[in-house]
């Protein structure tokens, strides 16, 4: 057996999507799509190889892998490949897209490349560039459907995310001036003494990257961008863009010693709790189903941030929650895409009796909605349960209470709305004949199955990687 | 007591009293020129004053003693200020140790308050309107004045205007420091508002634009004459403080002889002419703002004054 150096997978991860981004610009749309699919598949294969070999270590001053990035790479490339696959179905239904298929695939590949770049660089400055690059590459994707609302959403997204990231950059300036390096290995090897400036830098990074994660009150771009973007892009946003920004914050947070100073961890928990509660209650008032899922993502990000702040078992729970949620939420958005292009509306009130119109899609939708809101056998439930356990274990009972309330409220909100759309009685004469699209409903089942498998710890290497990532971050295992 | 050095007090007070109508007359003449009129003689304020002092004085029905006393009280306050701020000497004259900068500000406040009380005492609608307007804008102007004093104090570490004059005329870096530039700008804006210049107030008998003049609407004859003189004194004193302590602190002779004092008086008139020219340029180029926008104007002045102190704190240097 030939031993392949981990650096090979690393370079493959970077080269496949970037080459796909460039080569997708060929004149022929079918070839372009094939190239994009090939690039995504290669990247996914490389991510699996990285996960299986448990690759870690630094290559050169700027690149490196460890168990945390292994887990996130699997997640990002997994959603990347399914989104590229689903894009064909979605793209075909568009009447007058703003971008040609070639530009669309190129931007989508570049978007994925930017996120992979965030995960494999070891310099916080480069990581910041990667996060900013995700904004550049994804902003135009939102406008695909050429509506005034889409333009306005893209506008808010660009502006708010960029403004937030300038704060993150300021945080890095402070960190660099205080420590003299931004390399995460050097920072880990010589952890700086905990001083007020370092704590302030972490707090600024929380606000800065938190804008991109969608933390309250910097979340205002999130529902707009998620609801106006085409569904494959919404899935990327919700499933992996938000976690990628959170990953960048985690790397800054790692500068602090393992039980982080109370003032910082309290701040992190407060942001997370506010986000989860606000999102959970906003879910109740949504009229568009894509905004419904956008707020659900915001709620899950709030819970994950709580997990990071609490630490210990809750940190492990947060990682499980993020990975499971990525797969479940992308499934929900693919279903939403099917519903949107079949019914032509995104208003919850105008959609009833989907089980006869779209039998397969509505099945997947019910399952994935239950999965994103933390129904028991899914990985999201395991993650949320561990966050509650972790919060109680360190004596933060009120935090556990917040998590339970947010989860219950969000669960009721999302599932009752989806239930009404799928099982509700249609008004007389408005029932549509069954017209399941020929494809595009298989992918949601696949992704929901992954979320389920994470919940029962049935994915061998991923479970190990999650455990070692949690330990690496200073968390505890149950 | 050395009577020779006390003479300078009298010289300075008389300079202020006698020159203030002249500066006002020059202002009117400049203003007329900018409007392509030939305008009155620069000595017109003296003629006006003489006329007022000869005219019969009428008191409104029901007014009390305050109405009669107030102009003289204000006049006394201005006279006292004229011997405590640097007008013609760069060195403290004997009376100057009575009060510091803040005390001078309080004396200005006293003069304004009694004028206000007289206006309320008159019972006239116009005078009361003028008083209420003045007070509502003074709510912004007075804090600005106090903060201007703080800013001056942080530059020199003392609240003595003579020390400030000395430091600014000797140190270029103190003169060009952000704190000083900002506080000068803030004080200039305040000066425009306090002396009733555009864009805050258009002088004259148009009652819509009237602030200062509204308050003395009911005074007549001798009392009106004193009140007018008070207005010119206030303008002269504020101008003198502005040129000597803020904008043009240079060149004053510290020679206490008659020759040195005469030189200083000439220099003061030259500086005031420059200032009057600048203010007339402002008046010729800006329009009057709406009454409710005056608050914005004063807020700008206030912001600049706060920033002056702030700049000192942030930069750590004057």
């Amino acid at each position: 057996m030939i031993a392949i150096a981990p650096s090979f997978w690393l370079f493959l991860l970077l080269i496949a999507p970037s080459a796909a981004a460039i080569l997708s610009l060929v004149p022929n749309a079918r070839v372009s799509e094939g190239v994009a699919r090939a690039g995504a598949l290669i990247a996914f294969a490389a991510a699996i190889a990285v996960l299986v070999t448990n690759a870690s270590g630094a290559w050169g001053p700027y690149l490196g892998l460890d168990s945390l990035s292994d887990v996130f790479l699997f997640m990002v490339t997994g959603i990347y490949v399914t989104s590229i696959w689903y894009s064909r179905v979605y793209f075909r239904a568009l009447s007058r897209p703003f971008l040609t298929a070639q530009v669309y695939y190129a931007l989508l590949s570049a978007f994925a490349f930017a996120m992979i770049f965030v995960l494999v660089v070891t310099d916080l400055g480069l990581m910041w560039i990667g996060v900013e690059a995700t904004t550049v590459t994804s902003a135009l994707l939102i406008i695909l459907e050429r509506k005034p609302e889409s333009v306005e959403s893209a506008w808010r997204y660009t502006l708010i995310a960029s403004a937030g990231l300038t704060i993150a950059l300021f945080a890095l300036l402070v960190l660099y001036t205080a420590t003299g390096t931004l390399n995460i290995y050097q920072l880990a090897a010589n952890p700086p003494a905990v001083t007020l400036p370092i704590e302030m830098a972490v707090a600024l990074a929380l606000v800065g990257y938190g804008t991109k994660v969608g933390l309250f009150p910097m979340h205002s771009w999130l529902p707009d961008a998620h609801s106006e973007a085409p569904s494959p892009v919404s899935a990327m946003f919700s499933g992996v863009l938000l976690p990628a920004a959170l990953y960048a914050f985690l790397r800054v947070y790692r500068v602090l010693p393992t039980p982080a100073p109370a003032v910082v961890s309290d701040l992190v928990i407060a942001f997370g709790a506010a986000t989860a509660l606000v999102a959970a209650f906003l879910i109740q008032h949504q009229r568009s189903f894509k905004r419904l899922f956008a707020y659900s993502s915001m709620e899950v990000m709030g819970l994950a941030v709580i997990g990071i702040g609490v630490g210990g078992v809750a940190l492990y729970g947060a990682l499980i929650l993020l990975v499971a949620h990525a797969f479940a939420k992308s499934a929900a958005f693919y279903c939403a895409g099917n519903v949107l292009r079949t019914t032509g509306t995104n208003r919850i009130d105008e959609i009833r009796d989907l089980r006869t119109t779209l039998p397969w899609t509505s099945g997947a939708w019910v399952v994935s909605s239950a999965a994103v809101t933390g129904a028991p056998p899914f990985g999201t439930f395991l993650g949320e349960f561990l966050i509650v356990v972790g919060a109680v274990a360190v004596g933060l009972v009120w935090v556990a209470g917040v998590v339970v309330v947010a989860v219950l409220v969000a669960f009721l909100g999302v599932n009752s709305q989806v239930g009404r759309m799928v099982f509700g009685e249609a008004r007389a004469g408005t029932t549509l004949a069954p017209r399941e699209p020929d494809s595009g409903w298989g992918i949601p089942y696949l992704n929901a199955a992954v979320a389920l498998a994470i919940g029962v710890a049935a994915i061998p290497y991923l479970s190990d990687a999650l455990r070692s990532a949690a330990v690496f971050l200073g968390g505890a295992l149950p | 007591m050395d009577w020779a050095t006390q003479v300078i007090n009298i010289v300075q007070a008389s300079t202020v009293l006698l020159l203030s109508p002249l500066i006002a007359g020059i202002s009117y003449r400049f203003k007329a020129w900018t409007e392509s009129r030939s305008g009155p003689s620069i000595f017109q304020p003296y003629f006006d004053l003489a006329k007022y002092l000869r005219k019969e004085t009428l008191l409104p029905d029901g007014s009390s003693r305050i109405f009669f006393v107030a102009p003289f009280l204000a006049f006394g306050a201005y006279l006292l200020i004229s011997v405590v701020v640097p007008v013609i000497t760069p060195y403290p004259i004997p009376f100057a140790s009575t009060v510091d900068f803040l005390g001078g500000g309080l004396l200005f406040g006293l003069a304004g308050t009694v004028t206000l009380l007289a206006a309320l005492d008159s019972g006239s609608n116009y005078a009361t309107l003028g008083a209420s307007r003045t007070v509502s804008f003074a709510a912004f102007a007075e804090p600005t004045l106090i903060i201007v004093f703080f800013a001056v104090a942080v530059i020199t570490g003392t609240n003595n205007p003579y020390v400030t004059n000395n430091l600014l005329s000797s140190s270029t870096s103190a003169y060009l420091s952000p704190t000083h530039l900002l506080v000068t700008a803030a004080f200039f804006l305040l000066l425009l508002a306090e002396t009733g210049k555009l864009p805050v107030e258009s002088a004259g008998t148009m009652e819509f634009g009237m602030l200062e003049d509204g308050r003395i609407f009911e005074h007549s004859g001798r009392l009106l004459g004193v009140n007018r003189w008070n207005g010119w004194l206030k303008q002269f004193l504020l101008y003198s403080v502005f040129v000597n302590v803020f904008a043009l602190p240079w060149g004053m002779s510290s020679d206490p002889t008659a020759a040195g004092t005469l030189f200083n008086i000439g220099l003061l008139i030259a500086k005031l002419l420059v200032l009057v020219g600048v203010i007339m340029f402002v008046e010729a180029t800006v329009a009057k703002v709406r009454l409710f926008k005056i608050r914005d104007f004063l807020a700008l002045s206030f912001s600049l004054a706060v920033l002056a102190v702030f700049a000192f704190a942030v930069l750590g240097v004057p």
């Binding site: 333009v151 306005e152 960029s162 950059l169 300036l173 001036t177 905004r291 | 206030f302 920033l307």
Partner: protein, 216 residues
């Protein structure tokens, strides 16, 4: 006080003044010229530092500040957006109160200075080191209180100015700083230009419309 400290102090206060002016003005065209002036002041400061330190990086930053953020974006891209009605474009929704905004801006400046003194002053001990942080907060206030798209771009430019200011003055040696700033400028030029013009093509006006779908 040496010459460099004086230049830093004077230009820094000038930048702060432009920031406060930006808060209190509601018409768009003077705002565009004010942000151009702010970037120009920053460019002058960076140019001075580049000259005294013989630093190519700082010279590039100065050229970017003057060329891109003082000239190209405000005077070329943004002013073209309001070409037809330059004299009347202003904030429409927010009741813009000059006094309130000016005083709020001054208050925020003071608060952010206290925060800076309490937390970051030990890392940035230089006089005037709080100014970039104050500018950053002013930019955020602007983004939070304004609704006109062009004014929001101006807020973004102000944020970028703040970061460049901080990086160039007090965090020299930050890896890839010039590249980061180039990246920010590219983002500013491309996205702002492209999205603003798409917005005009799709909605027909730079004056914003209320979009019912995006509420909630």
């Amino acid at each position: 006080m040496d010459a460099t400290a004086e230049v830093i102090a004077l230009v820094g206060i000038g930048i702060l003044l432009t920031a406060l002016y930006l808060q209190s003005e509601s018409f768009v065209d003077p705002l565009i010229r004010a942000i151009a002036l702010q970037s120009l002041l920053l460019g002058v400061l960076l140019g001075w530092l580049a000259w005294t330190q013989r630093s190519v990086d700082l010279a590039i930053l100065a050229a970017l500040a003057v060329g891109v953020r003082a000239a190209f974006i405000p005077l070329f891209v943004l002013r073209r957006q309001i070409r037809a009605f330059r004299w009347r474009v202003r904030e429409l929704h927010a009741a813009h109160r000059v006094t309130g905004h000016a005083l709020a801006a001054v208050a925020l400046a003071i608060v952010s200075w206290f925060v800076f003194q309490e937390t970051l002053a030990s890392v940035f001990p230089q006089p005037g080191a709080a100014l970039p942080f104050i500018l950053l907060m002013q930019g955020l206030l602007m983004l939070a209180t304004r609704s006109n798209t062009i004014v929001q771009v101006i807020g973004y430019l102000e944020e970028e100015n703040a970061v460049v200011y901080a990086g160039a003055l007090f965090s020299q040696g930050f890896p890839l700083f010039v590249e980061v700033v180039v990246f920010l400028d590219v983002l500013g030029v491309v996205l702002v230009g492209v999205i603003l013009s798409i917005q005009r093509d799709v909605t027909g006006s730079p004056e914003e419309a209320v979009l019912e779908e995006l509420t909630g």
